[in-house]
C-alpha cells in the first residue's frame, strides 16, 4: 500500500520536472506537448490520480488536495510562459511588418462640388438659419412675371437694358430670379421669408466676365413693420457670415423698378480688408448685391395690402461672389468643366 508520503514525493518530482521542462521550452508547440505530457488525459498527473484508489479513504482528500495544487502550479506556469511566448512572437512579427509610411495613399477618389454650388449652399445655409425657405421657380417664364408684375411695363427701357432672350412675345428665359418673388407673393401666405436661387439668362456674349447663362440668388421678406433698417441689418449679418466677422457693409442709393427706396450694397474687399487692392480696383469695396423695400406697386399687383404689409427684397449674382471668393479670373472656367479646374474645390 502506497502512503501519502510516497505520493507527495512523486508529485514533487513531477512538479520539478515539469518546471524544468517548461523553462527549457522553446516554442508554443513544445509548451503544448509539455501540457499534454503532464496534464493530459494520459498525462502523469492523471496517472497519479488514477492511483488514488490505492490510497486509504481517510488520506484521499489530503492527497487530492496536493494533486490539485501541483496541477495549479504547473498550469499557472504554463499559462504565464504561453503569454510570454505569444508576446514575444507578436513583437517578432511586428518587427518584420514595418512599412514605408511614405508610400502613396490609396484614395477613394471623391468627386468635387462645383464652386458655384459650394457658395450657393453657403448662402442658403445662412438664410435658412434666419428662417428663410428656399424656393424655386420656372427658368422659362412668362413676360408678366419677369417684368410686368415687377413694375416694368411693356416698352419700359429697363426691358431693353436686360437683353432678354425671348421664345415669343409672352414667354422668355427669365433674366432675373425676381419673378419667383411674385409667384410666392401671389400665393398670399404671409409672412414671407424666402430665398430663390437659380439660373438666369441674358444675351451677353461669352467672355471673361460675362456669360449668357448665370445664377442669381433672390431674397424676399414680407411682414408687418418691415423697415429699411431691417434690410440693412439682415444683409449686414449675411455679409459677416459669408465673408467673415470683420466685414463692413455700405449701402448706396440706387434704382430698381421693383423696389423703393433701393440700394446697392458694397462689402469691404475680402482680399485686402478694405485697404485697396487689385480685386477692388483700389477702392477697398466690392459691390455685391442690389436691394430695396418692395415697391408698393409690386405688392399691390400681387394682392398684398401695402398699407398693412411692407417688405424688402435683395438679389445677388452668384458667379460674381464665386469668382471673387476663389480668385478665379475667367468666368468661362465655370462652364468648361475641365476636371483640373473642378477638382480644386
Amino acid at each position: 500500500m502506497k502512503g501519502e508520503r510516497e505520493v507527495k514525493e512523486r508529485l514533487n518530482r513531477i512538479q520539478e520536472e515539469a518546471i524544468k521542462k517548461i523553462q527549457a521550452s522553446k516554442d508554443l508547440n513544445e509548451l503544448n506537448d509539455i501540457r499534454i505530457h503532464f496534464l493530459g488525459k494520459k498525462g502523469e498527473l492523471t496517472t497519479v490520480l488514477k492511483g488514488m484508489k490505492d490510497i486509504s479513504p481517510e488520506e484521499r482528500p489530503v492527497v487530492g488536495q496536493i494533486v490539485n495544487k501541483t496541477r495549479e502550479t504547473i498550469e499557472e506556469l504554463l499559462e504565464e510562459t504561453r503569454l510570454q511566448m505569444e508576446a514575444a512572437q507578436r513583437e517578432e512579427r511586428m518587427k518584420n511588418e514595418v512599412i514605408d509610411v511614405t508610400l502613396p495613399a490609396k484614395k477613394n477618389k471623391l468627386g468635387h462640388r462645383h464652386p458655384n454650388t459650394i457658395v450657393m449652399e453657403e448662402v442658403e445655409g445662412i438664410f435658412i438659419g434666419m428662417g428663410y425657405e428656399v424656393v424655386e421657380g420656372p427658368e422659362v417664364e412668362y413676360d408678366y412675371y419677369n417684368f410686368e408684375a415687377l413694375n416694368i411695363p411693356a416698352d419700359h427701357p429697363a426691358k431693353d437694358e436686360q437683353d432678354t432672350f425671348y421664345i415669343n412675345k409672352n414667354i422668355l428665359l427669365r433674366s432675373q430670379t425676381s419673378p419667383v418673388q411674385v409667384r410666392v407673393m401671389e400665393k398670399g401666405e404671409l409672412p414671407i421669408r424666402m430665398l430663390a436661387p437659380g439660373r438666369v439668362f441674358r444675351s451677353d456674349e461669352v467672355d471673361a466676365t460675362h456669360s449668357p447663362s448665370f445664377h442669381q440668388i433672390e431674397g424676399l421678406v414680407i411682414d408687418k413693420n418691415i423697415t429699411f433698417a431691417d434690410l440693412k441689418g439682415t444683409l449686414a449679418e449675411f455679409a459677416k457670415q459669408l465673408f467673415g466677422p470683420e466685414t463692413k457693409v455700405k449701402f448706396r442709393p440706387h434704382h430698381f423698378q421693383f423696389t423703393e427706396p433701393s440700394a446697392e450694397m458694397d462689402v469691404t474687399c475680402f482680399k485686402c480688408g478694405g485697404s485697396g487692392c487689385r480685386f477692388c480696383k483700389g477702392s477697398g469695396w466690392v459691390e455685391i448685391l442690389g436691394c430695396g423695400m418692395v415697391h408698393p406697386n409690386v405688392l399691390k399687383m400681387s394682392g398684398i395690402d401695402s398699407e398693412k404689409y411692407s417688405g424688402f427684397a435683395f438679389g445677388m449674382g452668384l458667379e460674381r461672389i464665386t469668382l471673387f471668393k476663389y480668385e478665379i479670373d475667367d468666368m468661362r472656367l465655370l462652364y468648361e468643366n475641365d476636371n483640373r479646374f473642378l477638382s480644386q474645390f
Binding site: 477618389k109 471623391l110 468627386g111 468635387h112 462640388r113 462645383h114 442658403e124 434666419m130 428663410y132 425657405e133 428656399v134 424656393v135 424655386e136 427658368e139 422659362v140 416698352d155 427701357p157 429697363a158 437694358e161 432672350f165 425671348y166 421664345i167 409672352n170 414667354i171 428665359l173 409672412p191 421669408r193 439660373r199 444675351s203 456674349e205 461669352v206 449668357p212 447663362s213 421678406v221 411682414d223 413693420n225 418691415i226 423697415t227 429699411f228 433698417a229 440693412k232 441689418g233 439682415t234 449686414a236 455700405k250 448706396r252 442709393p253 440706387h254 434704382h255 423703393e260 427706396p261 433701393s262 423695400m293 415697391h295 408698393p296 411692407s310 462652364y335 468643366n337 476636371n339 473642378l342
Partner: protein, 806 residues
Amino acid sequence: MNTSLSWIKAYVPDLNVTAQEYTDALTMSGSKIEKYEKLDADLENILIGQIKKIDSHPDADKLIICQVDVGKEELIQIVTGAPNVKEGDKVPVVLAGGRVAGGHDGKKTPGGVKIKKGKLRGIESNGMLCSIEELGSTREFYPEAPEYGIYIFEKDAVVGQSAIEALGLDDILFEYEITSNRVDCFSILGIAREVAVTFHKEFKPPFVEETGNNEDVNNYIKVTVENEDLCPRYCARVVKNIKIAPSPIWMQRRLASQGIRPINNIVDITNYVMEEYGQPMHAFDLEKIAEKEIIVKCANNGDKFTTLDGQERILDDSVLMICDGEKPVGIAGIMGGENSMITDSVQTILFEAACFNGTNIRLSSKKIGLRTDASGKFEKGLDPNNAEAAINRACQLIEELGAGEVVGGMVDCYSKKMEGRKIPFSWEKVNQLLGTNIAKETMLEYLESLELSYDENTKEIYVPSWRQDLENSADLAEEVARFYGYDNIPTTLPTGESTTGKLSFKLRVEEVARNTAEFCGFSQSMNYSFESPNVFDKLLFSKDAKEREALVISNPLGEDYSIMRTVPLNGMLTSLGTNYNRRNKDVRLYELGNIYLPKQIPATELPEERMQLTLGMYGEGDFFTMKGVVEEFFEKIGLNKKINYNPNAGKTFLHPGRQAFICYENNVMGYLGEIHPQVAENYEIGERAYIAVIDMPEILNYATFDRKYVGIAKYPAVTRDISMVVPKGILVGQIEEMIESKGGQYLESYHLFDIYEGEQIKQGFKSVAYSIVFRAKDRTLEENDVTSVMNKILRSFEELGIELRK
C-alpha cells in the same frame, strides 16, 4: 453722364471740395461717380511765356533758339524744333523740373514726362514750348491750336500766369452712373441741383430774361402737330441775321469737357443747351423750309430720307417725322435732314425744342439703326416744360454772343400741359418704412431743397414736372433717406412672427444626389440650357424623334445657342470631349440641370422643366460601375425595392447592346449605357464612355427619407449555392426574378458569385452560379424548410431551359 467740376461750379458757386470728397458724397446721395480724371494730373509748372527773340541754331537747320519771358527777372533760353513760332508769340512753356502729359503725337505717358535742363546740339535749353497734344488734349477740343506745332495764345494772355488755368485744364472730369429713373440728371443743371443739396449750398441756375425783338414769330413760321401722343410739345423760335462765327472760348472749353467738338456759334449753342438743360435742340435753315410751315407727323411705310450725315434711311409709319410744307426735313428726335441743315451762309434759323414720346423714339432709333446724343436723351422721356426753358436759354445765348437777331415770341404746340403732381406726405409713414426717427422739419428741409414743396393744409408734397420718377410715399422716403444718409439709418433685424427655414423635399433629394455622385468620384459640371439644333444629329436621333421638338429662342446669341435642351447629353458629352482632348485621365462628371419639354409648338404655355441627374465618365470603370452609382443613389433616397433593367431602351446615342432603362416598380426612372462609338467620335471622346440619366421628378414619386428599424437577425441563416448551365439568351435578371418570386418568406438574399462562358460549357450556354440565403426571424430553419423552396426554384429554372450543373 459726365460733367466737369468747373461747369458744376458755375451753378453752385460756393462749392469747395476735393475730387474725392465730391465723389464720395455724390455717390452716397445717389449720383454714383464711376471715376474722375484730373485733367492736369500730369501737368506741372507750365506758364504762359512770350518769345522775345529767336536765333537760328548754329549746328542744326531745324532748331531755333528762343529767349522766353515767363514773367521772371531773366529770360529763359529754350531750343525748339517747332515750325510755327515767331517773336512776340505767347506760348505754353514748361519749365525745367515740370511735367507734360505726353508727346507731340498725342500719346500720353502715365505719370507724365518730366522736363529737364539739357543741351540740344550743344546749346543749353531750360524748358520746352508745348503743343496742345503735349498738354494732354487734342485739336478736336482746341480747334484754334495749329495742326502741327506749338499752341499760341491770344494776344491778351498774361505772361507768367499758369497756362494750365488759361487753357481750362485745371479741371476735373467726373463720370456718373445715373440710374434710368433720374431723367433730370442727364443734364448739367440736374447734377448741379443734386450737388447743391448734397453739400447744402445754394443752387443758382442761369437767369433767362425775355429775349427777342418786336416782331412776331408767327409771321415767320407755322407749326402743326398731327400726332400729339408722339409729340406732346413742340416749341419753335426764329433767329434772323445770323452771323456764323466761332463760339467764345469759355463755351468751347465747356463743350470740350463734355467731349463735344466746337464747330460754330449756332451749332455750339444748341449743343451747349442740350448739355446744360438736357434738352436736345435742332436748328433748321428757315430758307429751306417750304411754305414756312412745320408739320409733325408719321412717315409712310417705305419712305426714304437722307439724314444730315449723308446716309439714306428707310422708314415706316411708326417713325415720327418733322416735315415742311412739301417734304420731311428731319427724323423727330433722332437726326435732322441733309435738305434743311444749316450752312455757313445761313441767314435765318428756326430753333426747335420739342418733347417726343420716349418709347417711340427708342423703338424708331432701333429700327432705323441710328442712335444719336439727341435720341439718347429723348428716349428717357423728357419733361415738356423743359423745352421752353431750353429754347429761351438758347435765344439768350444768341443775343449774348451776338450771333443773330432773335424774333419775338415762340410758337408753342402744347395741347396737354404737363403739371407737376401732388403726393400725400406723412412723415410718420416715412419713418415707419425707413425704421428711423427723423424729425418732420428735417425731412421737409431735404425735400424743399430739391424744390419739392409742402402744403401743410393738404399735407401734400408738390412734385415739379421734371421729377417724373416721384409717384408715391415710398419715393419720397427715398429722397429723405438719401439726404439723411443711408449710413445713418440704423441696422436692425426683422421682428414679428418667426418662420422655419428649410429646403424643399426636391432640393433635399438633389443634395443627396450631389453627395452620392461625389462619393462615387463624380465632380459637378454646369452646362448651358441652350444649345445647337445640330445636337440631335450628333446624337443620332431619328428625323422624327420627339426630342427634336424643342423651344426655339427668337433672339439667340447664335445658332449654337438657339434651342432649349430636351435631352441633357450634349453638355455632358461636350465636357467629356473637352477633358479627353486636354488629356485628363479617368474623368467622372455629373450635372443637375433642367431639360425643357414644350407642351405645344409654338408655345403658348411654359414648357415642362424636368430636373435631370446626368452622370458621365470615361477611363476607369465600366457599365456596371455606372450601374453601381445609380443603385447607391436609389438606396440613399429610400428606393429599397428591386431595380430592374430593361435592355430595350432604344436610345440611338447608346451602344445597342449596352444600354438599359432603369425601372422601379414598373416605371422608367432613367437610362444608362455605353456611348455609341459613332457618338463618342462625334464628341471626340477617344475611349469607351458611359452615361446615366435619372429623371428626378419621376424619382421624387418614390423617394423618402423615412426609415424604420428592422430587427437584426438572431437566428442562423441557411445558405445554398447552386451552379447552373443557362441558355445564353437568358438574362441573370430573369433568373433573379425567379428566385424572388419562388423564394418564399424565408428568402433573405441572393448573389451571383460566378458567371462563365467557355470551353467546358456547351455551345449556346453559359455557366451561372448563385448563392441563396434563407433565414427565419423567429427560429432556426430546418433542412426541409429550405429544400422544398429550393425545389420550387429549381423547377422554375427548368422551365427556362436551365440545367443544374452536375
